[in-house]
Amino acid sequence: MLAGLLGGSLLLSVPAFALTPGDWLMRTHAASKQLNYRGTYVYSHNGRVESMRIIRKIEDGGGVRERLYSLNGAKREIIRDNGKIWCYLPDRKIGVHEYLQVSSRQFPNIVPQDIASLKRYYRLRVGKQVSRIANRSASQLVILPRDRFRYGFDLWADQDTGLLLRASLVDFSTRLLDQYLFVSLTIGGDIPDRELQPMTARKDLKWYIGTSENMSQSAAASDWKVGMLPPGFTLRQRIQRITPLRQARLEHLIYSDGLSATSVFIEDISPDDTRPLSGPKSMGAVNAYIRYVGNARITVIGEVPERTVEMIAKSVRFGTS
């Protein structure tokens, strides 16, 4: 990781057009870990546009504090203090406190050898053009899928710092699925603690505290098997835990090709539990597929096409056969 950060810092002095796709990604990845910033961006999807506010503070010891909230609609909010995360859902009058399962050291960690792997499943090209986003010059990286199991990306990063300013998700036919676009952004400067405080008081919500046992891939043994995956998708992490809300046993499998990630949730359900309809569900560019196997609910979710979540969900089996 240190090498990655150092590499990212050195790459800041290289003109964007001279970067390889791997350099571009490493530079952007490093910028997201090193910079204080505050900004407003719009999230456009499904014919809707929502505005969001994000504030990120890197502390002296390298710790990260962040706050993300919606400027319209439900007052949902995420507060991060290093590895701890508080999720405010005033519309449901609850809050969920979790511990981040993944450190940036583990996953995702974009390193040069990963780029070679990515090229098997995506076409990557650094754009020659410069655009202006949130009053800053931005350079482009286009990542297009080689098959219909995953989506592509049209990314624009700040030329000076490498910070991502615009990210569009596109399908195999380059149809726009969703888009993040900064409309105002301040990079650097001190961020006072008050800007990182939530708008909803913790005492106003009923809190569910997550506890988890993070199991390594090799140590984890499970009777649940996923039979079919898109090319390049491998198991990155397996987590077994008790869900904070229902206190049910949950197995969470994370598969990724290095860019796109899909989660498989296998949750024990009791006969009294409400059973949402099985089948596909779309939330903008996020697709999910729900099915039931015995007393377990299988939910596959990810920023991948519907065919992908459906294929994975239908291939989940219990037992070794």
Partner: protein, 181 residues
């Protein structure tokens, strides 16, 4: 002349109608005013949706006017072509203008429905307030997820690797969930 236009709209214009109408038609500013009055009237009478059905689509199209990808992929092996549309430097400003306009028109639509759409309910009375609360609750119920997919979305957020390039932005979809999904 504006006063005459107002009288005409209110059905109170007196005198030679043809002459006065021709004066209004000849005056570009008055023509626009006439058109604006009627658009507002149509909104209040619910003859037209205040937000045209393709508003969001057109908005997205405007966003797409920024540099775009053109990628002919008939066989999945075609070359990537990246072209840049003319830079749209004021997209942010126009975005907020559009959002402000949308909010204003939505407010007009809500008020007009309560004022004109349901004459049985006296505006400002207890039934009116109760109806407002009911409609608010209905909206919330529709938006409330019943399947905990939002919690799964939250759990998944930390693995949405590309979005991790910008930290908590990976959770945008979770924060957005419930606002109409």
């Amino acid at each position: 002349m504006t006063e005459k236009l107002s009288e005409l709209i209110d059905g109170e214009l007196r005198g030679d109608l043809a002459t006065q109408l021709s004066q209004i038609v000849a005056d570009g500013a008055l023509r626009q005013t006439w058109s604006r009055y009627h658009r507002i009237g149509a909104v209040l009478r619910e003859e037209h949706s205040p937000l045209s059905a393709d508003f969001a689509a057109r908005f997205e199209a405007r966003l797409k006017d920024e540099p775009v990808i053109l990628c002919p992929q008939r066989d999945g092996n075609a070359a990537i072509v990246v072209v840049k549309a003319s830079p749209d430097e004021s997209v942010g400003v126009r975005l907020w203008q559009n959002l402000a306009l949308a909010a204003s028109l939505a407010a007009i639509a809500l008020l007009s429905w309560h004022q004109f759409g349901n004459p049985a309910v006296k505006r400002g009375g207890p039934d009116y307030v109760a109806q407002l609360q009911q409609s608010s609750q209905k909206v919330q119920q529709r938006a409330r997820p019943a399947d905990d997919l939002d919690i799964y979305l939250f759990e998944h957020g930390q693995y949405a690797s590309v979005s991790d390039l910008n930290g908590l932005m990976a959770y945008t979809k979770f924060v957005s969930y419930g606002n109409g999904d």
